[in-house]
Each structure stands twice: as C-alpha cells, then as structure tokens.
C-alpha cells in the first residue's frame, strides 16, 4: 500500500471510532458499568505498601471488629476485621488482583485456543469444521465446575495451574461464536474478491477475516471475564483455588463461612466485590454489543 493512501484511511477511521465511543458513553448502563468497574480495578492494583494495613497482618486484639458503619466499628478498619483480626478492606483490595489476574489470564488463554479453532473451522469448513464443533459439544457436555475441581484435585493447585484449568475448558464458547462470525465474514464479497485476486491464505485470514472478528471477540471477552471470575471464586470458595494465606475474593468468603453468627460481614463484604465486577462487566458487554453490533442491538430490542 502506498503511504499516500494512509492519511485518508485514518481520516475515515477516527470519526467512526469517535462515534462509537460517544454512542457507548450515551448508553447509561454501559457508563454505570464503567463507573463501577474502574474503582474496583484501581483498588485491586493499589500498591501493597499503600494499603491501610498489610494484608497478612493480624491484630489479634481486634478480631471480628464490625465495619465502621456498625456499632462497635472503628475507622481503623473501615470494613471490619476477620476472625484472625486481619483488615478486610486491605485483604479485599490485595485479593482482587489475584481474582482479576486469574480470570483475565484464563480468558486470554481461552481466546487464543477458541479463536484459532473457530477461524479454522469457519474458514476451512468440511472435516475441520465437523471435528471442531464435535469437540465443542464434548467440552460443553461437562458441568464446568465439576470438571475444573476434578482436574485440580488430581493435578494440584497453583496460580498458573488455576489459569490453565479455568482457561482451557472455556475455549468452547469462543470457538462456537467465532466460527459463526467467520462463516459470515468469509461469505462477504470483499473476502471473495481478495480470494479471487489470488491472495495468500494467511494474508486473507490476518488482513480480512481476523480484523472483522474484532467485534464479537471484544463483546465475548467482556462476558467471559465475568463468567470465569464467578467460576474462579466458586473454585476458591470450595478450597481448591488460590491457597491461603494469599487472599482472593472466593477464599475470603469461604474463610468467613464459619463465623456467620459472630461476624456476618467477614464473608458478605468480599462477595459484594465479585458481584459488582460481574455486574459491571455485564453492563459494559451489553453496551459494547449495542454500539459495535447494531444488528444484534436490533435483535436484542426484540428480545
């Protein structure tokens, strides 16, 4: 491509993107999602040294202190302490990075496998398509949480293991949706034209097919992070996820389970973090779908 063609292309691309951004910002739910998500992510990435208390530090004299807004609470521990006298706010902020890191890394892994399989199935068709789709069926036949905890029970748990075990089974959603989108893109005239001009296959896939799959990928990724965050917290809650003393939102809920009479806040407050992030991601995913995929929006208006 000549460099002279470049500025014109950019000039077209920018307003379109700007229009999408402003449409996204006009979507009240999507903005609410962002408003919820950004502070939680900032809190989760907050430097450990700046936390109100070291996350593992336990003040045994202040065990099961209620949150500041309840009788008996103090602002030294705004969200109270757990059964070992550890500050819940600090642990929630620190634990969030593990929950979010595991969920998003697992999604990256799932996307790499699922997009590759989905594009191959949709582009090649035939036997490859049949094979991939049957593998998707096999994958989706298993109750995910049972499969995940069974594999972890056999192989043991660690941060990388958790990412792999959560990420690999999640490929199936990507493969199924990307395959469908690939079929649509491949049937489009511009791909046919590029093919007719004798474009190499790899060039066709990377220049024409993949860029046109960006929309479903982005939307799906938002929902998948939410889904895997829920799954990670359930696995951690069952004691097979991130291991103590490292906190994650799921393990914090599990820790508080035995103290619901003396300190109900120990498990309920970390759960709110999971709930808010998942809700925010679902809002953002809906908003992105409306903005990026107007046809889906029309379909959804019917739904």
């Amino acid at each position: 491509m000549s460099t002279a063609a470049l500025p014109r292309q950019v000039a077209v691309a920018v307003p379109r993107r700007r229009r999408a951004v402003s449409a996204f910002l006009r979507d009240r739910m999507a903005v609410a999602g962002l408003v919820l998500l950004v502070p939680v992510v900032v809190a989760a990435l907050w430097p450990v040294a700046w936390l109100p208390h070291p996350p593992a530090w336990s003040d045994l004299d202040a065990r099961l202190t209620p949150p500041a807004f309840l009788a008996g609470g103090t602002w030294a521990h705004p969200l109270g302490t757990d059964n070992l006298g550890r500050d819940i706010l600090s642990r929630m902020m620190y634990g969030g990075r593990f929950s979010l890191f595991v969920a998003s890394s697992a999604v990256v892994l799932a996307a790499l496998i699922g997009i590759t399989a989905g594009v191959v199935a949709g582009y090649r068709g035939g036997l490859a398509d049949v094979l991939v789709m049957r593998l998707v069926d096999v994958q989706l036949a298993f109750p995910l949480i049972l499969l995940v905890i069974a594999i972890i029970a056999v192989l043991g748990t660690s941060l990388p293991m958790l990412i792999v075990v959560l990420g690999i089974p999640a490929w199936a959603h990507y493969a199924r949706i990307i395959r469908g989108s690939t079929l649509v893109v491949v049937a489009a005239q511009y791909v046919e034209a590029a093919r007719a001009l004798g474009g190499r296959e790899s060039r066709l896939i990377f220049r024409h097919v993949l860029p046109n799959l960006a929309t479903p990928m982005v939307i799906l990724t938002t929902f998948e992070i939410a889904r895997l965050l829920l799954l990670e917290s359930a696995v951690s809650f069952l004691g097979l996820g991130i291991q103590p003393p490292t906190p994650s939102w799921g393990t914090m809920i599990a820790d508080g389970r035995n103290h619901i009479y003396e300190g109900w806040w120990v498990s309920t407050i970390p759960g709110l973090a999971i709930f808010l992030v998942v809700l925010a991601l679902n809002f953002i995913g809906d908003g992105l779908r409306d903005v990026l995929d107007p046809r889906a929006h029309a379909r959804r208006a019917m739904l």
């Binding site: 049957r134 036949a141 109750p143 049972l146 829920l230 309920t268 809700l279 739904l303």
Partner: protein, 305 residues
C-alpha cells in the same frame, strides 16, 4: 427422521469424546495400584496387581476395557465407602433431582409471569425493574447468595433451617438459591419471546377480530412464546447441575454435587469419575430430547434444518 438420525450419530460421537476425557482423568490420577496396595507393597505384588487390572497392556486396550466396563455401569469401587461408585451415585441422585426440579419449577413460576408482564408493558417502570433484577440475578455467585440466605434467614431471623434434607422447610433455601439465576434467565427469555410474538401478524389479526386482551395474550401470544422458553429451560440443565454442586455444598444437601465435592476432597477417584461421566451423559441426552421436542412442537425448525 433424517434430523433424528443425524442427531443420534452426533450424540454417539460426543459420548465417545466424553468417555475419552473421563478416561484421561482416570489416567491422570496416577497409578491405582499404589493407591490400592499402599506405598509399601512388594514389587511382585504390584506387578501381579498391574497384570490383574490390565495396566500392563497398551493404552488403547486399557481404554477399550474402561469403555466396556463403563457401558456395564462398572466404574470401580469407592475407595472411601467400599461400595460400587455407581450405586453410590444412584443413591444420591434423587436428592439432586428433587433440588433441581424444585428450582426449575420455582424459576418457571416466578420468571414466566414476570417476564410476560414486563413484555406487555415494554419500557415501563415494571419492565425496567424486571430487566434490572434479571441482570443482578445473573451477576450474584450462587454460593454467595446461599451464604447470605443462611445468614439472613437462618442465623439472624431464625426462620428456616439451613442444612440437611427431609422436610419441605429444608428445601426452601437451597431451591430458592439455585433458582435465582434461572429466574433471571427465564424472565429475560419470556420477555423476549413475548415481545417477538406480540409483533406478529396473527396476534394483530386476533386483536382485530375483537378478542379480549386476555384471550389474545394467553390464547395466542403466550402459547407461541412458550416454545423457545421451554427449550431454554431444558438447556439450563447443565447450568443447574453445576449450580447444584455449589448449592449442595453450602446447604449440606446430600445430593450428587456434594458427593462429588467430598469425593474430590478425599481423593475418592472412582466416585469423581462416575459423577463427571454420568452428569455429562445426562446433559447430552437431555439436550437431544429438548432438540427433538422442539422440532416436534415447531415444524418450522425442521424446514430450516
């Protein structure tokens, strides 16, 4: 008919795939001989046991053996209960079916009317409330909702029992917890399906004929909107089973989910295998049934297929 044959062929392929994954899980668990005989066993005893169990044969022979035994329902003996793993699973199954059935009924009883009412007044305050609650319901982790329910209704209000099985009161909290997500799903789909049907020509015709609103809604619109909703409910079976794993653990409900989690904790692998295998098979078969029912109820699908 061709549709059915093709779906059955697919089912067999998927079931074979499932068995390969479960067999892989079996192999991953390590040498069962060591588990059975202990670390201190003599080399001769280990070799004898390996030959007896067929572990000295090539891997595909072992798989064929595993498959043949699985088809006969033989998944080995529970290491913990010294009882056939399958019979242990079958014993616990009614509890899980009771819980999931209660949750499904609750989801339909609440989700359906709420979704239909929301569709009758789109973009009203009620519609907004329903859509908002559905989003919230889909974002709360099941185990967390269960825990909050235990804290509120058990620990503080002391209204309901929080564990065990036997009385109707004991069923309420776990069923409601498991149903929460499904209520959201059913309400969203019922709303969507109703909105779609209400825009169709035959509904307009029914209205133009001067039928009462109630007859149009129930007799014409709802009857057609129910088809996709019922299919979605059937397809939720897998989600329900996954949810049951966690819900049963939180409420000490003696079903297959809790059995599986306990088996995983105690490394009772035959029981783990049987739960993973049988739930996957149940899921695939129920999906096929849902597909077939869908085609029977709605002939348009057959044409499209």
């Amino acid at each position: 008919m061709r549709f059915l044959v093709r779906r059955l062929a697919q089912l067999l392929v998927v079931l074979l795939g499932v068995s390969v994954v479960v067999f892989g899980l079996v192999r991953l668990t390590g040498d069962p001989v060591v588990i059975l005989l202990g670390e201190a066993a003599t080399a001769e005893a280990v070799a004898e046991m390996r030959a007896e169990l067929g572990l000295d044969r090539p891997i595909y022979v072992q798989y064929a053996r595993f498959l043949a035994r699985a088809l006969r329902g033989d998944f080995g003996v529970s290491l913990r209960y010294r009882q056939s793993a399958l019979s242990l699973f079958v014993e616990r199954l009614p509890a899980t079916l009771e819980l999931t059935a209660a949750a499904l009924l609750l989801a339909l009883a609440v989700g359906l009317p709420v979704g239909v009412l929301a569709a009758l007044r789109p973009n009203s305050g009620f519609d907004g409330l329903v859509r908002g609650s559905a989003l919230v319901g889909q974002a709360i982790p099941g185990f967390y909702l269960g825990l909050v329910a235990i804290i509120v209704f058990g620990a503080h209000l002391k209204l309901l029992p929080t564990g065990g099985r036997g009385t109707v009161a004991q069923l309420i909290l776990p069923a409601a917890t498991l149903a929460a997500y499904q209520i959201a799903v059913v309400a969203r789909f019922a709303r969507g399906a109703m909105l779609e049907v209400l825009g169709e020509d035959f509904v307009r015709t029914a209205r133009a004929k001067g039928l009462t609103r109630a007859r149009v809604v129930v007799g014409h619109a709802l009857r057609n909107a129910l088809i996709p909703v019922v299919t979605i409910v059937a397809l939720q079976f897998g989600t329900l089973l996954s949810g049951a794993v966690v819900t049963e653990t939180v409420f000490s409900w003696p079903g297959v989910g809790r059995l599986a989690v306990q088996a995983i904790y105690t490394r009772d692998f035959p029981v783990v295998q049987v739960t993973v295998m049988v739930t996957a098979v149940l899921f695939v078969v129920i999906n096929l049934l849902a597909d077939v029912v869908y085609v029977i109820v709605d002939p348009r699908i057959r044409v499209a297929d």
